[in-house]
């Protein structure tokens, strides 16, 4: 057996391949994009098809501040990842924490909006088609945000104990790809729900 295999053994010099973490995360992002596309298509297709109120125009308020928070968190996580790449652990921790705070703020904003819609406007997932599609699309995004926050908090818990170092930079960058994706999806959801949909 080894007699056959031997001549095949080569020198791996100069043989480089892409990082498997980045490739896998890109694939996950492609797959998730397809899921979001279906929800966006359903939202757009059902615009104005509700047989009862309330309509988006009557109840939706544009969450400009919280959108800004989320978009800014893309910048902060990028900054954090770059700092870790250069081995600067303390500033990394600070920017990482800021990212979590901004993400948390956005989630709080979504929760506040849902509370207002449910208790003041009487819009639930079963009220009409708008309610069904709105809560599904925004909820799908929020659930991805929660998953992202959970991962960020796990990294934070390691980082405060000094366990995150330059050598983990590649993994942090993969996580940051996911976070950018969640942000980019929000841009689409924002345009669909608050710009086109009203």
């Amino acid at each position: 057996m080894s007699a056959i295999a031997n001549p095949l053994i080569g020198q791996p010099g100069g043989w480089t391949l892409p990082s498997r973490g980045k490739v896998a995360m890109s694939c996950l992002i492609i797959a998730e994009s397809a899921i979001f596309t279906i929800f966006v298509v359903a939202y757009l297709y059902y615009l104005g098809k509700s047989v009862t109120g309330p309509t988006p125009k009557q109840v939706l308020e544009t969450p400009i501040f919280y959108t800004f928070c989320l978009l800014y968190s893309s910048f902060t996580i990028h900054r954090a990842a770059k700092l870790l790449e250069r081995g600067r652990r303390v500033p990394f921790l600070a920017w990482w924490l800021l990212t979590i705070v901004l993400g948390g703020l956005f989630l709080f904003g979504t929760g506040q909006e849902w509370h207002r819609l449910i208790y003041e406007r009487g819009l639930t997932v079963s009220t009409n088609l708008f309610g069904t599609t709105y809560y599904s699309l925004v909820g799908l995004h929020a659930s991805h945000l929660i998953a992202g926050l959970a991962m960020l908090v796990v990294v934070l818990s390691f980082a405060v104990r000094g366990r995150v170092d330059q050598e983990h930079s590649a993994r942090i960058q993969v996580l940051s790809m996911y976070w950018h994706f969640v942000d980019a999806v929000w841009v689409v959801v924002f345009i669909v729900v608050y710009v086109i949909g009203r």
């Binding site: 057996m1 080894s2 056959i4 295999a5 001549p7 095949l8 053994i9 080569g10 020198q11 791996p12 043989w15 391949l17 892409p18 990082s19 498997r20 490739v23 896998a24 694939c27 996950l28 492609i30 797959a31 998730e32 994009s33 397809a34 899921i35 979001f36 596309t37 279906i38 929800f39 359903a42 297709y45 059902y46 098809k49 509700s50 047989v51 997932v125 079963s126 009409n128 088609l129 069904t132 599609t133 599904s136 799908l140």
Partner: protein, 557 residues
């Protein structure tokens, strides 16, 4: 050194208690073992799905038969379809991909071994849940049993009013879990192929099997996920009172059809691409020639990947789309036949002038070529919207897609089993039983599915549990059912061959077929670590280079 290591392992294996062995298999992250788990799991469901098919065929053997009730018949075709697609075809193909891709590209394992195990167990849980519905589907309501909404579960059949109890939810969650598992493995396959190739293995030197699985996995990412999204919507409708597919509240049943078939049609190509991969590896070896037109094969595969994404609504000609949509989907559907035709010509070109050895794997490949071509031709017929209006939802359609799935996919799978079984187990499958299996299966297949076209043309709709006498369908259905019986016998011979050859088959050695790809350079079965040290390749046929140093392929590439 490595042979010693294996010997020691064997020694330990004999003294192990069976619980230890089970524990090892359950906790394994080795791509070969997970591949075998996938295959065994799928073969189990193949038998279950086959029993369901036989129940339907017995019921339809003559008019006014009372073998099963209409309710049971509905459950049988739903479970048969769901089982065969999600819990036989998908896992068995992922199993082969899992087993073969790392070996063929010269890697020690998949890129993410634990994700690999996780994906398998998710799919396994899905299959378990689907069948648990026979017990749990009644729930507190006492209504419903196994899912009975058809494998495409059109709205409003899935609405609470028409599908009380939990049977549809078992279907939804089972299929969703299998979808998550499939996407996980697809990500793993892509990462493995792009990031784990051995030195010298450029994309242009990869075995076609790796190429086709790469394209298949890319398709999985964007075809399985729309179904997952639609299933989420269905759950929102059923449990949270949503209105996605509730027409009384402005929702649309047609949107579900679109979402289902955006998944459903590319899925056929997800299943057939790995089968093309098997055929592309097996035909050259038994024709003693390298594959004809390698770059064209790769190009045609990528082309199929793209075009097949835009054909889905040919399943929906009969719902009344406008003429632009009908024309568009007719044209795209016919267009996807072009790259597929290129592949058939390339396989023929490979066989042309070759010194063909008619071993069992090759016989199944030739059967595949012939039958897949015919299936493609009835596909082109159904792609034409006016023709489809006439025959949509008839037994002609059932015959067409079984021609693809049995005549194409299953034949290629059998070829793969006969070809790689020696590598996986270290034993050859019996050629005599293999040839008997082949001929019985070919005869049974053609009796069933050639004849099945005719009642379709005579107007017999699919999914009916019985029919009136005097329509001229009785004899035809009897013949179809008899063919199914012959196929069942052939499958039992195959299963017996798998079991008996595992104990008594001839020793295979490393390379029983005198083949050219890397998996044949290691022992059979391969050691846990695959390669003692990573190989390096200089051409598409590394073992040819090794066996013929005076005339290596690398000189011409």
């Amino acid at each position: 050194m490595s042979t010693e290591a294996i010997a020691i392992e064997r020694l330990q294996a004999t003294g192990k208690p069976w619980t230890e062995t089970v524990h090892e298999w359950v906790t394994t992250v080795d791509h070969k073992r997970i591949g075998i788990l996938y295959m065994v799991y799928a073969l189990l469901f193949l038998v279950i799905g086959g029993v369901e098919a036989m129940i339907m065929r017995i019921q339809l053997m003559h008019s006014h038969n009372n073998f099963v009730s209409p309710q049971v018949f509905n459950r049988m075709f739903t479970m048969h379809g769901t089982t065969m697609i999600f819990f036989v075809a998908v896992p068995i193909l992922l199993g082969f991909a899992n087993y073969l891709v790392p070996l063929m590209i010269g890697a020690w394992d998949m890129a993410f071994p634990r994700l690999n195990a996780f994906s398998f167990w998710l799919s396994a849980l899905g299959g378990f849940l689907l069948y648990f519905s026979f017990l749990g589907g009644s729930g507190l309501y006492g209504a419903g049993n196994a899912p009975d909404v058809g494998w495409w579960a059109y709205a409003p059949l899935t609405a609470k009013a028409f599908s009380p109890g939990h049977s549809s939810d078992y279907w939804t969650i089972a299929v969703m879990l299998s979808g998550f598992g499939t996407v996980g493995t697809a990500i793993n396959i892509i990462a493995t192929i792009l990031c784990m190739r051995c030195p010298g293995m450029h994309l242009g030197r990869m075995p076609l099997l790796a190429w086709l699985n790469l394209v298949m996995s890319g398709m999985v990412l964007i075809t399985i996920t729309p179904l997952t999204a639609a299933q989420f919507m269905l759950l929102v409708d059923r449990y949270l009172g949503g209105h996605f597919f509730d027409t009384q509240a402005g929702g649309s049943a047609v949107l579900w059809m679109h979402f289902f078939w955006i998944f459903g049609h590319p899925e056929v190509y997800v299943l057939i691409l790995p089968c093309f991969a098997f055929v592309s590896e097996i035909i050259p070896v038994f024709s003693r020639k390298p594959i004809f037109g390698y770059p064209v094969m790769v190009g045609a595969t990528v082309c199929i990947g793209f075009v097949s994404m835009s054909v889905w609504a040919h399943h929906m000609f009969t719902i009344g789309m406008n003429s632009y949509a009908n024309s568009f989907f007719t044209i795209t559907t016919m267009a996807v036949g072009v790259p597929t035709g290129i592949k058939i010509f390339n396989w023929l070109g490979t066989m042309w002038g070759g010194r063909i050895q008619f071993k069992t794997p090759m016989l199944f490949c030739i059967g595949f070529l012939f039958q897949f071509l015919l299936a493609g031709l009835t596909g082109i017929m159904l792609a034409s919207a006016p023709f489809d209006w006439q025959l949509g939802n008839s037994y002609f359609v059932v015959a067409h897609f079984h021609y693809v799935i049995v005549g194409g996919i299953l034949f290629a799978l059998f070829a793969a089993f006969y070809y790689w079984y020696p590598k996986i187990t270290g034993r050859m499958l019996s050629e005599a039983l293999g040839k008997l299996h082949f001929w019985l299966f070919v005869i049974g297949f053609h009796i069933t599915f050639d004849v099945m076209h005719v009642p379709g043309i005579l107007g017999m709709p699919r999914r009916i549990y019985t029919y009136e006498p005097g329509r001229g369908w009785d004899t035809l259905n009897l013949v179809v059912s008899l063919g199914a019986l012959i196929q069942t016998i052939a499958i039992l011979i195959f299963v017996w061959n798998l079991i008996s050859s595992y104990r008594k088959g001839a020793r295979a050695g490393n390379d029983p077929w005198d083949a050219w790809t890397l998996e044949w350079s290691v022992s059979s079965p391969p050691p846990v670590y695959n390669f003692a040290s990573l190989p390096a390749v200089a051409s598409r046929r590394p073992l040819w280079d090794l066996k013929h140093p005076e005339d290596p392929d690398s000189r011409y590439e």
